[in-house]
Each structure stands twice: as C-alpha cells, then as structure tokens.
C-alpha cells in the first residue's frame, strides 16, 4: 500500500508505556493531525515515524517497505520541530539548502531550489539574511521550506505553530493546508490545538494515554465521537448520564427520551453539543424542565447554563433562536434524539 502504515507500534520508557499498540494507515497524500493532551504519546509516535526514537515493538511501513530500523538520515522525510531547530550559524538560504549541500549538489542547483522555496513561502530575496533577524512567522516559514527542500515522501510537523500568536497561527494553518494540497505530500502534524486540527486535517487522530481513541475526518470526530474522551476533548459537549428503566425506556434527566436506547439495555452516556440543545417554553411537549443558573452573553452567541435534575446543561444559541430567559427562570430543554450520541459510560 502506498502511504504510511503503523503496525502494533509500542514504545516503553522503563515501566511507562508512552505509545501502546498503535495501528494506523495513512494513505498517500493525506493530511493527518494527531491530537491529544500533553503526554498522550503523540510526539513520541511522530519521533518514531521520523526514526528519532525506536519503537519497543511493532513496525513502521512506508510505501510497503519496512523502515522500522532504518536510521533517520536514510528515511526520505522532512520534519519541522517545535523549536524550529533552524541552524543559528547558517543564513536563511544556507538553512534551506542544507539537505542539498550535504549531498554535494551543485551550487547552481542549490540556489535555484532555494529561490523556488523562498518564493513558495512568500519570502523572496531573504536568502542571505541571518536566521536570528527573522520574525516568528518568518522563521516558521523557513523551517517549513527547509523540511521540503528535497521533496520528501513524508512531511512531519511537531507542534509547528505553537510559538506564534493566535492571529498568525490561524493564517499559517490555512497556508500550511494550501501548501500541502498543492504539493500532495503525506503530512502528519502533532498538535494539542483542536481548532488547528479541524482546520487542516483530512484525518484527525485523537490520542490519549498512548492509544488512538478515534481516527476519522474532523466532521465525523465532531458529530460521531467514539467515546466520552473524544466527545469531551473535541469542542465542548454535554455529557448526560442515561439508564434503561424496567419498561425498557431510555431515561435521562429523570425523563424518558423516546428514540434513544442504551446498547445492551444498560447504562450509557449521552453526548449533546451545546448548539444542539434547544430551549423552549417550560412544559412544552417532549421537553425537560430546568432552571437557568447563569447566562453568558457573548454578543454573537449566548450560552445558557441550566440545572436539570441536578445536572448542568449548557445550551449555545444565537440571540434570535432563543426565548428570553433570565437567571432563576424555568425553561424547557429539548433533546433531539437525532443529534444525541449514545456512548459507553
């Protein structure tokens, strides 16, 4: 198969298992974001793909070829480090030309490629500048260009945008995605920023405690999270306890919710996105009645905090789609079974 395949990859540091039996196939040309809290093993996984760490067990295949034991410098890849790792003793041009220079490529070829890449990252004419004189965003681009100098099969980025301020980061996310589509290169980005993952990725891989919890498209991950961790980690959600009563009905917040059923007829958790929680007048048909405890008016959206049978529910609505409510007032909460995801507790 063309692309990257991870087979039962595991990494132990002493008694600590950083990556636990990871299975993943990344088709050629895909943009993958590995997402998870810090310490979830995503960076270790990336370093193993790069050959900077060796797996304790398992295998890594690139285009069907086993590269598990191939040293880093013999794998055809480009990597952007969190610290960027630009060589301080070299100029911008020399940094970008580095992979060609160490191969003994002719000077002319080096210069042509540097100019090409500088044009691609919108920094033409920067070749002779010292790296230290660049701004954060410029250094970022140079690190990206340098990783792409030898048109690698695999493009790896470890928290590449974490040092940039919020505005620049969002612009770079778009730029990076466009660049990847233009080059059609298999790309893996490690990030802890879910917006970043949602913006760029074809496939988001959510990791926790060394394991992949879900690997799917951003929309799939958001709409159909595989478990409570993914549901809670991606965006915000209401997690509501649910059980099956003696009549076989699914009950949540002291009320039967028609149209839902717990798998195996036991206990479960419902995940509902705040924007899917509809507020109505109290007592309307099929609604649960709760009490408003707090209202956060953000202008464009309004977050309403509701106490329903002792559990807090958050609803996000636009000013027009929501009845006028104030703190202490009862309100009707409508849970549409179509947008509820039932998860194992």
């Amino acid at each position: 198969m063309s692309g990257l395949t991870l087979n039962s990859v595991r990494k132990d540091f002493g008694s600590f298992t950083a990556v636990n039996d990871v299975q993943l196939a990344v088709p050629q040309g895909t943009f993958v974001c590995m997402l998870g809290p810090s310490g979830c093993g995503k960076t270790t996984l990336l370093r193993m793909i790069a050959g900077l760490d060796l797996p304790t067990s398992g295998e890594i295949l690139l285009d069907g070829e086993d590269i598990t034991a191939v040293p880093t410098h013999k794998r055809n890849l480009g990597m952007v480090f969190q610290s960027l790792a630009l060589f301080p003793h070299l100029s911008v041009g020399e940094n970008i030309a580095y992979p060609l220079r160490i191969r003994g490529a002719p000077r002319e070829e080096q210069r042509r490629r540097v100019d090409e890449l500088l044009a691609m990252i919108h920094l033409p004419g920067y070749a002779d500048r010292p790296v230290a004189k660049l701004s954060g965003g410029q250094r970022q681009r140079v690190a990206i260009a340098r990783a792409l100098t030898r048109s690698p099969k695999l493009f790896l980025l470890d928290e590449p945008l974490s040092a940039l301020d919020a505005k620049l980061r969002e612009a770079m996310q778009v730029e990076l995605r466009q660049l990847q589509q233009q080059l059609g290169i298999t790309t893996i980005v490690v990030t802890h920023d879910q917006r970043e993952a949602m913006t760029m990725a074809d496939t988001v891989v959510v990791m926790n405690q060394g394991q992949i919890r879900q690997a799917a498209s951003p929309m799939e991950i958001y709409r159909r999270p595989a478990d409570t961790f993914v549901a809670d980690f991606i965006g915000s959600t209401n997690l509501i306890d649910m059980y099956t009563d003696s009549a076989g009905r699914a009950v949540a917040l002291d009320q039967a919710i028609p149209g839902l059923s717990a798998p195996g007829g036991g206990k479960a958790v419902i995940s509902v996105r705040p924007e899917d929680v509809h507020l109505t007048a109290p007592g309307s048909d099929g609604t649960i009645t709760g009490t408003v405890t707090f209202v956060r008016d953000l202008g464009g959206t309004i977050e309403t905090f509701i106490d329903c049978a002792g559990q807090q529910i958050i609803a996000v609505s636009t000013p027009r789609s929501r009845p006028e409510v104030t703190v202490g007032q009862p309100v009707g909460v409508l849970l549409d079974p179509g947008v509820c995801v039932v998860l194992d507790r």
């Binding site: 900077l52 760490d53 060796l54 880093t72």
Partner: protein, 285 residues
C-alpha cells in the same frame, strides 16, 4: 539524534585517545608517585625500589606537625579572607551592566593566570625597602623612612589572598548571577535596607555555596608552593613548599612523594566533606 549507548566497537573509538592519554600520563604517574613514597632513599639523590614506611614515619615529628598545622591554618585564613572579601564583591559585580562585568572578568582572569613566580616577585617588589609601598608613604609624609615589609607572615597572607581572590570570585560568580534578584527586591519592599537585605536574604540563600567556596579556596591555598617561600621565613613554609623543596633541592623523592600522598588525602578528605555537607543540606531542605 538519540543519545545512545555505544553499539559497535567503532563507537568507542573517539574516547580511546583521551582515555589512553589520561591513564598513561595521569593515573600511572599518580601510581608511580605512590610507589616512590615507599621506596628507599639512597645517598646522592637516588632511590631504590623497596617497601618501607620510613618516609611516612617522618610525619611523626614535631617539625612536621608544625608544618602541617601552619599549612592548614594559613589555608583556612586565606579562605576566610577571600570569602569575606569575595562574596559582597561578587554580589555587587553581578548587579553591574554586562559590559562592566566583562571588564572586571578580564581583569580577574588576567590576575588569576599569573604564575606564582610573578605574583611572588610583584609582591616582594611592593613590599621591598627600595621600591615598595612604604616609599609612597614617605613621599606623602606619612612615614620617616622606607622599610621592608617582607619577609613576614602578613606578606605571605596578603599575596596568597591576592592569588586566591580572583579564583574565589570566579567560583562564586555562577551561583550569584543565578540568584533571583527579586529576592532582595522583595526584602527591600518589606523595609530592609540594602545592607540588611544582603545579610538577611542573600547570605542565607547562599549558605551552601559559601561553604563549598570556602573549601575550594582552602584547597587552592593549600596548593600554593612558592609564595610562602618567596615572601616568608622558613617557619612560614607550607606542605606544598616542603614537597617542592624535598623533591628539587634536597633530592629526597621518596619523602616528597610520601608528603604528596598525604596532601592528596587531606585534599580528598576536604572534597568528601564538601560533598557530604552539600548532600546533608540538600536532604534537610
């Protein structure tokens, strides 16, 4: 790059040369010195292999006890003088601009680099009757006529403090430059005067450093081999001077070696004490 254990034989290659050099020219000479300390001295400056303790037995004399006692006392005194002078100086130095710090460091390093011969010569000149500091006092009308200030104990002590002070400052510098400046600032906002802040905040925070520095300067001063000879009288000779004297002028290598072994043991005991004190303090905090 992974930092990894050496895999193949060639991975060990880089360390071969340093390892051989240090073993052949440091470890083995050290061993030769220890064996010579058990050798039998012959008349005329030669010695023959043997296994005798006579060189060590000579330690059991009043003369040797005096030399040892004086050496330790002098080294302790030098260490105390240097730390008392050096701690406030280094503290103030770290508060200067970078540029001023660099200039001071160049001066300190230059003085530290001076050989004992030159320091001894320079101070003997300064303390001499014909070209000494007393001439200046005569010119200023503070003294009747110039006098020689050396040989004598104050001359030895002054020159040894001169030699060890730059060392003291360089040993203290890393700890003091890393000292959080907000510590004293906090003390100042609580109403402490600069001097009070220094003694109530800086000095206690540096207790371990000061202890370690004292011992390092002590060892440094213990190594001084010429100044007591150039600027002092025979009763001011230290163990290091005696070793040099026995080895070169009396040609008694076995006795010199025995004293050197003894000096190593004293030094190592001091290092062990430093480590022990440091560990104990760490455990206490």
């Amino acid at each position: 790059m992974r930092r990894e254990t050496p895999q193949r034989l060639t991975d060990y290659a880089p360390i071969a040369f340093p390892a051989i050099m240090l073993t052949v020219f440091f470890v083995i000479p050290f061993g030769t010195m220890i064996s010579v300390s058990f050798f039998q001295r012959q008349q005329g400056g030669f010695y023959t292999p043997a296994f005798v303790f006579s060189n060590y037995e000579r330690f059991l004399s009043l003369f040797f006890a005096n030399v040892l006692g004086f050496s330790l006392m002098l080294a302790v005194l030098v260490a105390i003088c240097c730390v008392v002078l050096g701690v406030p100086f280094t503290y103030l130095l770290t508060r200067l601009t970078r540029r001023a710090q660099i200039i001071w460091m160049v001066v300190l390093l230059s003085v530290l680099s001076l050989s004992e011969v030159i320091i001894g010569f320079a101070w003997s000149t300064l303390f001499s009757r014909t070209a000494g500091i007393t001439n200046l006092l005569v010119v200023l009308g503070l003294m009747e006529k110039a006098v020689a200030l050396s040989p004598g104990f104050p001359a030895v002590l002054t020159a040894m403090v001169y030699q060890a002070l730059p060392y003291t400052i360089l040993v203290l510098y890393p700890a003091l430059i890393r000292l959080d400046p907000t510590l004293t600032e906090a003390a100042r906002t609580l109403g402490a005067s600069p001097l009070r802040a220094f003694f109530t905040v800086v000095v206690p925070a540096l207790r371990t450093t000061i202890m370690a520095t004292l011992i390092m300067v002590f060892i440094f001063a213990l190594g001084s081999y010429l100044l007591p000879q150039i600027l002092g009288r025979p009763q001011h000779w230290t163990l290091s001077v005696l070793i040099t004297d026995q080895a070169i002028y009396q040609s008694n290598m076995p006795f010199a070696a025995a004293m050197a072994v003894f000096l190593v043991l004293v030094t190592l005991a001091m290092v062990a004490l430093t480590l022990f004190a440091g560990r104990k303090r760490e455990a206490a905090t």
